[in-house]
Symmetry: C2
């Protein structure tokens, strides 16, 4: 089994900062959309052993690295928040809403 | 929950082609190392709904796209195969062996 360490790191960041991102919707679908979009814009850091996640996390103690992740997260939060897909699911399916994934 | 569709696609490719990659070792640790290394060199395609994996898989019906994935897989298989980490775990830990992850 392999794990993208960035998946855990970004999930933790989203949990920590979601109340500061001015989200129109904080349902699980929208949070997952933000996470998926952010991870698509972030270089993956796959590890084959879960213990090694600490090495990757250590890199983001650096304030500059952490800030660049937060900027990506905020940008993606805005994209999802401007057009929440969870609401489009309830209405008619519009393929444009799927364009960001 | 979010999933990197490339993780599934690359895992399937590795399972299909592992006997043609001239691997020195085909233990699970080495296969995971190949997978992790290949995924680190591949643009992630995170999806928030597992049903959407089909859309991503459809892109790789294209022979050229599939070939580029196979080339990456073969390159990473060679790197891992030249220096299998599973054997180094049994010997003394050598940090150079960790350099590719």
């Amino acid at each position: 089994m392999v794990i993208n360490a960035m998946e855990r790191i970004m999930k933790d960041l989203l949990d920590e900062y979601k109340n500061h991102l001015q989200l129109n919707c904080t349902c699980n679908d929208c949070l997952d959309d933000i996470l998926a979009l952010t991870l698509n814009k972030t270089k993956p850091r796959y590890i084959a052993k879960v213990e090694k996640i600490t090495y990757v996390k250590a890199e983001f103690i650096d304030k500059q690295e952490l800030t660049s992740l937060l900027v990506k997260l905020a940008e993606c939060a805005k994209i999802v928040s401007d057009k929440p897909q969870c609401q489009s699911d309830k209405k008619e399916v519009d393929s444009n809403h799927m364009s960001y994934l």
